[in-house]
């Protein structure tokens, strides 16, 4: 299985390449990609450096152009596709139908991957993208159980990539407007969820309050580990019960599923986290490289090493990991 790694900056990209990525995925410095965060992503000049660095080391570069283009400013998405094609990018990762149509028509030689934001959770939807735009690979939303992934892999008209590690979206990607409901930005409309501009931290006595656009997402006692106020991971009040009503701060870690995913014919595993630090990228890529190599050398005797999980826990949200939707009990 191909190890697809995040790079929010040139330094993260170099680290991912040096530590064993088979492919890196990047985005441009605008709202055409779903990690449109301040201080992140690539200018045209940096893209050239990124491609040179990766290609010299036989590592592929994918470009995420995976937000939904609006009528006004549609040219930005068009330009992102053109630039990627001209630089000889290995694949663009898209979600919007109009962007796919443009890429497929204008640059038929450019490989198209369907982004997780394209919300393809079944073979009919995969067929829609394969038949209409000759999509080569699709990234599956983090809502399918392992059994569903296996079934889908056996019927899919395109290669499949799944999320292996990183921050866990609890909702079907591309189908969540919670962020634009509380702020004015969502992953679909401008590539941001719970945007930093809307975050406020407030010390009240011994308690630390985290707010998003003024609304209380969580509060922490002294000494309690505080997390970024991603709106689905706060503690809320449902009929008087205060709890993580939607999801706890936790990260997806599927390292123990490597044999199952490989047997199912999954083509690539994806590490989430273009917004994370180079140290995160180094730690996660190195660990996953070791795990995938261990599986490749001796699939029958593959066993998860405690040191892998220890390393990954250190960079996990809330220092917890989960198998997420892959296990039915989580659902």
């Amino acid at each position: 299985m191909e190890l697809v790694c995040p790079a929010g900056s040139l330094s993260a990209l170099k680290i991912a390449v040096d530590n064993g990525a088979d492919a890196v995925y990047i985005g441009f410095k605008d709202d055409t990609n779903a990690r449109h965060f301040a201080g992140l992503n690539f200018t045209d000049a940096n893209v050239v450096k990124a491609i040179d660095y990766a290609k010299q080391r036989q590592v592929k570069v994918f470009v995420a152009i995976n937000t939904y283009a609006q009528s006004r400013g549609w040219e930005r998405w068009q330009k992102a596709v053109d630039v990627s094609a001209n630089y000889g990018i290995d694949a663009v990762i898209c979600a919007d139908i109009s962007v796919m149509e443009y890429a497929a028509t204008k640059h038929p030689e450019l490989n198209l991957h369907l982004s997780v934001q394209g919300s393809a959770t079944n073979r009919e939807t995969l067929s829609f993208f394969a038949n209409n735009f000759n999509v080569k690979r699709a990234v599956l939303p983090r809502v399918l159980s392992l059994k569903q992934v296996e079934t889908l892999a056996s019927q899919s008209p395109v290669d499949l990539e799944v999320f292996a590690f990183g921050s866990l979206c609890i909702m079907a990607e591309g189908r969540c407007y919670l962020s634009s409901y509380l702020t004015d930005e969502s992953p679909n409309n401008c590539g941001a969820c719970s945007p930093a501009k809307a975050v406020r931290w407030e010390q009240k006595g011994n308690q630390l309050y985290s707010r998003l656009n003024g609304l209380l997402i969580d509060k922490y006692e002294e000494g309690e580990k505080a997390g970024y106020p991603t709106l689905c991971k706060g503690r809320f009040n449902v009929n008087g019960r205060i709890f993580n009503a939607i999801e706890e701060p936790t990260s997806l870690n599927t390292i123990e599923l490597i044999p199952a995913l490989a047997s199912a014919g999954i083509k690539a595993v994806k590490i989430e986290g273009r917004q994370r630090s180079p140290a995160y990228v180094e730690n996660v890529v190195k660990t996953w490289r070791r795990a995938l190599d261990a599986y490749r050398h001796d699939p029958a005797r593959f066993a998860v090493k405690p040191m892998w999980n220890d390393a990954l826990s250190k960079v996990s949200e809330g220092t917890q990991t989960t198998l997420g939707a892959y296990t039915r009990s989580w659902q």
Partner: protein
């Protein structure tokens, strides 16, 4: 402009649903959407029950549409979807591209529901080629987005080839998950959810720890905490060229709301007062939860 009644997003007992549609048929709505769009485990009504209601709606002189499931992951869900698409009589609202794929393969025209991500005219144009005849705008889009898209359609001389419907009243469907949040509230796994959502006719309210309304949990769906209410924008929608105003079923007061909308459409939107339980932010390009009273004319 016509009025439509969207699919019931909550899980209600069969008799309640049947009674609801008797009232709906007698109400001023012109189009009625029927079917389960949220969770395939909700089986109070089968497809044939929905088709029976659709036949009654049609006999009553109104348009009936079958709405399909939004998040399709299991084989059984695709099988049911095929039956919806093959019903042979009623139009289908596609809420996932799987339905678009099945319908367009067979050359059957379709309605694109609000969960299909159409954010620009080029995407709409592509779906029109595939058989789209009516477009329900995604809920997070604004009046400005709509004006841009319809302007592009005018320029393309294709505005007359499709209808536009806007979700205009009710709790807003905001997100879909593999996880059932109602079951989670009861500490039950989804596989043994005991269909607890049937006890929450309007979902479960999620408040912040400072008691501010945030969301509504409805099984695997997360909805807005507030009621979207575009009653004050009916005249503006008429001007832009919106064809259909969608009212989404709520457990109480929905038929009064339909009458209010009908009167406002007939008399112009006057003396509209929005309550703190309402919101209209998305329409104005603001956070969806916002309420803009100053925008009212």
């Amino acid at each position: 402009m016509k009025l439509s009644l969207g699919p019931i997003l909550y899980f209600w007992e069969k008799q309640r649903v049947l009674d609801f549609y008797q009232q709906a048929m007698a109400s001023p709505v012109d189009v009625i959407y029927l079917g389960e769009t949220v969770c395939s485990k909700r089986r109070e009504l089968s497809l044939s029950d929905w088709v029976d209601i659709a036949c009654q709606v049609k006999a009553y002189g109104k348009e009936a549409v079958l709405s399909t499931l939004t998040l399709l992951a299991a084989e059984s869900e695709i099988k049911t979807l095929k039956k919806y698409c093959d019903n042979g009589e009623f139009s289908v609202e596609a809420n996932d591209l799987a339905a678009v794929q099945l319908l367009s393969e067979k050359g059957i025209p379709f309605i694109a529901g609000p969960a299909i991500n159409v954010y620009n005219f080029k995407t709409l144009q592509f779906l029109i080629k595939k058989g789209l005849q009516r477009w329900v705008m995604p809920v997070e889009l604004s009046k400005g987005n709509l004006v841009d898209i319809l302007g592009d359609a005018e320029e393309d001389k294709s505005r007359s080839s499709f209808e536009v419907e806007v979700f205009s009243f009710g709790k807003i469907p905001l997100a879909y998950s593999a996880r059932c949040f109602t079951a989670r509230y009861y500490d039950l796994p989804k596989d043994n959810c005991q269909l607890k959502c049937i006890h929450h006719e309007g979902g479960l309210e999620v408040l912040s720890q400072e008691d501010e309304d945030l969301f509504t949990l409805n099984g695997i769906q997360t909805m807005s905490g507030r009621l979207y209410n575009l009653e004050s924008e009916l005249a503006a929608m008429q001007d832009i060229g919106v064809d259909i105003i969608r009212i989404s079923p709520e457990p109480t007061g929905i038929f009064e709301q339909i009458s209010t909308f009908e009167q406002a459409m007939a008399n112009g939107s006057k003396n509209i007062s929005l309550s703190d339980a309402d919101c209209n932010g998305y329409w104005f390009g603001k956070p969806g939860r916002n309420i803009s009273r100053e925008e009212l004319s």
